[in-house]
């Protein structure tokens, strides 16, 4: 258990948006800055119903059956993606279809507006949506959507107002807001409109109230009344403010869908996303030029609507590059884990009182916890098995022996207690617990098998090791493509959350043989032979001790006087310049903006260096005299040998990386790293290029939208 505190921690922050109390404060701030309307805003029943239905459908996206994403790396810092969505129109009810009709005048709508995805407001690009036949599907402009949302949210506000029983008491402020303080009511509606169209303001200072002979001004009274009414109506965690938050910080992609088809398909090119990584900042020019990589690692995070049944992600790269590792992790079990951990803590806090009031109540709570722990054990064990099978399969592509995983602990032998406190990786412990639980070993948990301390420790550890993250591995047979499939696995009768699932794809791209590195080593060999050859010919004494070369030098022994220029210098210079130059021109060296260019950065520098060495020698031969050539040849040859060594080291590094069983980075769930490495991790690495559709990432590895 102490391991959790050892080296396994990794900053895992949540996708939380505004803090609960923040929303009300921001709303009140916006209310202070919105101009006070002098006339009521128009009411439009069609827009109200449309806006609220768009919002309700956009939140759950229950009509989206399947989502497929196809990722393409445009270059090393930009990713293009194509999203395909299967829509089930049967989910829509007749009333919803009527409310969402595209033509307000018709009796039986032929087509409806339908939200197909929610986008962060930071991604502002024009979408072209196509249907299965490739025809462009009409979509609403953001202005139209915003208008409907404003109408809908104002309607929801009035619903809150009319249903509040304080509006029946003429002494209450809300009664006044509903019946007589019209401008305050209009101000609240105007604020809603301003937020939806303009987004949340940044809370700052407000100007002081105008000193009008000590009396408050009209506008101050109106604003105070409106602010009081909002505070009375909405608690800081009110679902209304949460709805407003979503409408103000996200865009809905709304398309026109015909109603006569039960199933529909749409596809759109999502905006190109730039990579976010500290290596790619404009100031890190040196880092960009000097960072050699054996692997180009990519992380791509996106959100899947919780109602989606199946999600596919495909990535394809140019044929010169291979996909070495490709997997997908999601936090689909996170509501279940959240509820389990909260239960564990609540039971631990009330352990004594539960035991005192009714021991069987404590037993029930513990059994409820244990059954869910066992389910987590079974799920993660299955994921672990599939990941190990995947790594074995990857090993089979380059080696005949299978990978060496740490020996697994015996998970079927009873340990006398729950076995959850042993010093073993979490999934092993949970698996043993699951096995023993199903074998009825834990029928009396309240007898001290799960004391409060153990519950608290385990709860902390479950969160720290990300037991809610599942893993899905690549199943694409092609070398330059990866595909992973995720499907929904409901967690028993646990609450069906509507928060979207965060899914993260990890890709490691490599340049496998026949790679540039192998071609460069050939070039290096050719240059070395050339230089050694000229060295033997021109400075035979350098090789006097070496068996073959000294004889060769004596046999060649050109008749060159020490103090005259070399007569065949032209030929030597030509050879030293031409041969490496010709060889270099045969190499395929891509632009270093591309992924391939990034992967080939090191061999490319080696190739350039070898040509430079040959060129420098040629320069010396052309200018110098023969007696001064022994040192340059020595230096040149040792530099070339050094390069050889470097290439060799690079090759070894690649071989080590190829055999790595689990990437230690922010994508791999901690339980997986723990299970496969068995050693605490010193440093969690970042990926080379990190893409995300979620929002702006903070430095700690979470997202902060």
């Amino acid at each position: 258990m102490s391991r959790a505190a050892g080296g396994w921690e990794r900053a895992v922050t949540s996708t939380s948006k505004l803090v609960e109390g923040d929303r009300l404060q921001r709303f009140l701030f916006a209310l202070r800055r919105t101009p006070i309307p002098t006339a009521p805003s128009p009411h439009d029943g069609y827009q109200e119903a449309l806006g609220l239905n768009l919002l309700a459908l956009g939140l759950r996206l229950a009509h989206v059956d399947r989502m497929s994403e196809s990722l393409t790396l445009a270059d090393s810092t930009h990713m293009a993606r194509t999203v395909s969505i299967d829509i089930n129109m049967n989910v829509l009810t007749a009333e919803q279809k009527w409310a969402l009709r595209t033509d307000p005048g018709v009796e039986r709508p032929k087509s409806v507006w339908l939200p197909v995805s929610r986008q962060s407001r930071t991604d502002q690009a024009s979408f072209v949506v196509r249907d299965s036949a490739g025809n462009v599907v009409p979509r609403t402009t953001q202005v139209e959507t915003a208008r409907a949302l404003v109408h809908g949210l104002c309607r929801a506000f009035r619903m809150f107002l009319t249903s509040d029983r304080r509006t029946e008491d003429s002494k209450e402020l809300l009664h006044g807001i509903r019946h007589s303080f019209n401008r305050s009511r209009w101000l609240v509606e105007a604020t809603i409109a301003a937020l939806v169209t303009g987004g949340w303001p940044r809370v700052g200072a407000l100007p002081p109230p105008a000193a009008d002979s000590g009396r408050p001004t009209d506008s101050e009274i109106i604003r105070d009344k409106a602010a009081d009414a909002v505070t009375q109506l909405f608690a800081p965690d009110s679902p209304f403010l949460r709805l407003l938050d979503i409408a103000a910080s996200e865009y809905l992609l709304v398309v026109e869908m015909p109603t006569h088809k039960a199933q529909a398909f749409v596809q759109y090119e999502a905006p190109v996303i730039p990579a976010r990584s500290k290596h790619l900042g404009p100031r890190n020019v040196l880092a960009r030029w000097m960072s050699f990589r054996h692997e180009f690692t990519v992380r791509y995070a996106t959100l899947i609507p919780r109602a989606v049944n199946s999600y596919h992600v495909t990535a394809e790269v140019p044929p010169e590059i291979q996909v070495r590792r490709f997997f997908l992790t999601t936090d689909v079990d996170s509501p279940a884990l959240h509820s389990l951990v909260a239960d564990m803590r609540a039971v631990a806090d009330n352990y004594a009182s539960l035991q005192q009031v009714a021991p069987k109540l404590l037993e029930l709570e513990l059994q409820g916890i244990a059954s869910r722990l066992a389910e987590f054990g079974r799920r993660r064990q299955r994921d672990l098995e599939s990941f190990r099978a995947y790594i074995e399969e990857r090993y089979a592509t380059f080696a005949s022996r299978s990978p060496r995983f740490p020996t697994r602990h015996d998970t079927t032998t009873p340990t006398g207690d729950t076995g959850l406190g042993l010093d073993q990786p979490i999934v092993t412990r949970l698996e043993r617990f699951a096995n023993l639980y199903e074998a009825d070993y834990f029928r009396k948990l309240a007898d001290g098998l799960m004391p409060p301390d153990a519950l608290r420790r385990l709860a902390a550890e479950l969160e720290a090791t990300q037991v809610d993250q599942d893993i899905h591995t690549d199943n694409d047979p092609r070398e330059n493509a990866g595909h992973a499939q995720w499907h929904r696995r409901p967690f028993g009768g646990d609450p069906g959350s509507v928060e979207p699932v965060t899914s993260t794809v990890y890709m490691a791209l490599v340049d496998e043989p026949p790679s540039l590195a192998s071609n460069v080593s050939k070039l290096l060999l050719a240059v070395l032979i050339l230089v050694v050859g000229f060295g033997v010919v021109m400075e035979p004494e350098l090789f006097s001790g070496i068996p073959m070369l000294s004889g060769l030098g004596a046999w060649f022994r050109p008749a060159v006087a020490d103090d005259v220029p070399i007569s065949s210098a032209d030929a030597i210079v030509t050879m030293l310049l031409l041969v490496p130059g010709l060889l270099l021109s045969r190499l395929e060296i891509p632009s270093n903006k591309t992924v391939l260019g990034q992967l080939r950065l090191f061999p490319r520098y080696v190739a350039y260096a070898s040509v430079i060495i040959a060129g420098a020698l040629a320069l010396l031969v052309a200018s110098g005299r023969s007696e001064k050539l022994d040192r340059p040849f020595q230096v040149g040859m040792s530099a070339l040998v050094l390069l050889f060594l470097l290439v060799g080291l690079d090759g070894m590094g690649k071989a080590v990386k190829r055999r790595r069983r689990v990437p230690v980075n922010r994508v791999s769930p901690i339980w997986l790293v723990q299970e496969i490495r068995r050693r605490p991790v010193r440093r969690w690495k970042r990926c080379r290029a990190e893409f995300s559709t979620i929002g702006i990432e903070d430095g700690n590895g979470g997202f902060d939208g």
Binding site: L52, R60, T93, N350, A358
Partner: protein, 507 residues
């Protein structure tokens, strides 16, 4: 995740529904059934709007009296029942040929703050006794005490909503050894016993509340000798699987009854009053009503509380005080909550007004704007105790004209009555149906059957199994005659409640 709240999508859905319908109010019908007003068959069509189908239907009958509640969303915007009014609740008595027959119609503006999902909830069964239901005056006060204790426990601290509460219900006893051969056994249950079943909705991130609620209920049960069972929380367990926390303690119960209500007559009440409290669903409203009733010593024979389309309906069968029996004729009235509770106290309070424990504070409570609908007195035929067995029925199918004519539960009951060699009597005790937005009807019902005399105890499970399979098959065949496609019809009848656990979505 910081706060995986579930309420904002629900709010969006509720508001969208209201905006689409053009009215934030929900219309409802309530009928008080009894020997004097008639006991109509359960159906999906509201009695005052024969051209509509109710979105939600609830029926609850016990000992020949009961309630039917229908709710639906109006077609025309903001249709109010009381003409021009700013009040959010309006109810009026519905009269046919100048006679009030216990029928009411009204509308309520929904409360968008009451958004709870029945998915994350906890179900509780409080058992007063395992004998067949036949409460005396003193027992009825004990039921009020239990009702008050349960609702107060739910409303304590920040409060959790009571989504459903009912009594009498089928009590549960842990299966004896002879029923546990392969672990799937269960003893046939009793259709009605003195027991209360409550479903409390909980916020997703409020786990301490559940434990506090449980502890409070365990304390209540231990103090009064009640049995307490809680829905099994283990993964994969479904509704109808109970975890026994405390067994009922008859001695403690009797002692407590004598201590608290020893002055109450020890006889079965011959006349009752039917009450319905209606208003927007709100935290703590039922606790306020319950504590008021208890403080005025009003007993309770039966209660059925549920929220339908975000409106709370609290239906009660309350015994008339012995001194008041025989004075009044049947009448139906609608009253404000203060007047309603006051009149109830004067007619049904089992002690004199001066003997009540505290002054009513209901006008300061969450139930202050509720309306009270009263019908009475009625004389329910509470017979000698008979052993009835409950059968649970769940169904789902597309809404069709045929379904509007004949209800599935009624059809199954008719079918059961036809098995005269096995069944002596069959009736619907509890019925809940919902027309989903996609035009499907799902429903659940509890049907009580009395088997013919002369059967041995050990034969009952086998007989019930055969009966359920047969009635289910025959009912489906009847439905198919009405041109419903076989694939669209789902009917399940079982005498073990948990066999329906995975199918129904309706309470």
């Amino acid at each position: 995740m910081a706060s995986p709240g579930l309420r904002h999508p629900t709010l969006a859905a509720v508001a969208a529904r209201a905006a689409t319908a053009g009215s934030p109010s929900v219309l409802f019908d309530i009928t008080h059934d009894g020997p004097e007003t008639g006991l109509p068959a359960v159906e999906l069509v509201p009695p005052t709007a024969p051209d509509r189908t109710a979105a939600e239907t609830l029926a609850f009958h016990v000992a020949g009296v009961g309630f039917q509640v229908h709710t639906w969303i109006p077609v025309t915007p903001s249709k109010q029942q009381d003409g021009v009014t700013t009040s959010r609740i309006a109810v009026r008595r519905h009269e046919t040929n100048g006679h009030a027959r216990g029928m009411f119609a009204g509308s309520v503006v929904i409360n968008p703050d009451f958004l709870y999902d029945a998915d994350h909830s906890v179900e509780i069964l409080v058992t007063l006794g395992h004998e067949p239901w036949r409460p005396t005056y003193a027992d009825s006060l004990m039921i009020t005490l239990a009702y008050q204790g349960m609702t107060a426990a739910a409303a304590a601290d920040h409060g959790a909503p009571v989504l459903f509460l009912q009594s009498p219900v089928a009590p549960f006893r842990d299966p004896g050894r002879q029923f546990r051969v392969d672990g799937s056994g269960e003893a046939p249950r009793l259709a009605n016993g003195m027991a209360l079943r409550m479903l409390v909705g909980l916020e997703q991130d409020n786990h301490g509340k559940r434990i506090a609620l449980m502890c409070a209920l365990a304390g209540l049960a231990a103090e009064n000798g009640f049995g307490l069972q809680v829905a099994d929380r283990r993964l994969g367990r479904v509704r109808g699987e109970w975890w026994s926390v405390l067994a009922p303690d008859p001695k403690r119960y009797a002692a407590r009854k004598a201590e608290l209500f020893g002055w109450a007559p020890d006889s079965v009440p011959p006349a009752v009053q039917l009450l319905t409290f209606v208003g927007p669903a709100r935290l703590g409203s039922s606790a306020a009503i319950a504590s008021d009733l208890l403080s005025r010593n009003v007993g309770m024979l039966a209660v059925s509380e549920s929220s339908m389309q975000e409106i709370a309906f609290i239906n009660m069968v309350v015994p008339l005080a012995p001194a008041r029996i025989g004075r009044a004729r049947l009448s139906s009235t609608t009253l404000s909550i203060a007047d309603g509770l006051g009149q109830t106290a004067s007619e049904c309070g089992l002690t004199r007004r001066t003997g009540v424990r505290a002054k009513s504070r209901v006008t300061d409570s969450a139930a202050t704007d509720y309306r009270v609908l009263r019908t009475g007195p009625m004389r329910p035929p509470i017979k000698e105790a008979t052993v009835d067995h409950p059968l649970w029925l769940s169904w789902g199918m597309p809404l069709s004209d045929a379904l509007r004519r004949v209800d599935v539960a009624e059809l199954v009951v008719t079918q059961l009555r036809a098995a005269t060699d096995r069944v002596a009597a069959a009736r619907i005790d509890y019925y809940r149906a919902r027309v989903l937005a996609d035009g499907h009807v799902t429903g659940r019902a509890k049907i009580a059957v009395s088997l013919v005399d002369g059967l041995s105890e050990t034969d009952v499970p086998r007989l019930l199994s055969e009966l359920c399979a047969w009635a289910q098959r025959e009912s489906v065949a009847r439905l198919l005659d009405d041109d419903l496609p076989l694939g669209a019809v789902r009917v399940r009848l079982a005498w073990r409640e948990r066999w329906l656990g995975h199918t129904g979505t309706v309470a």
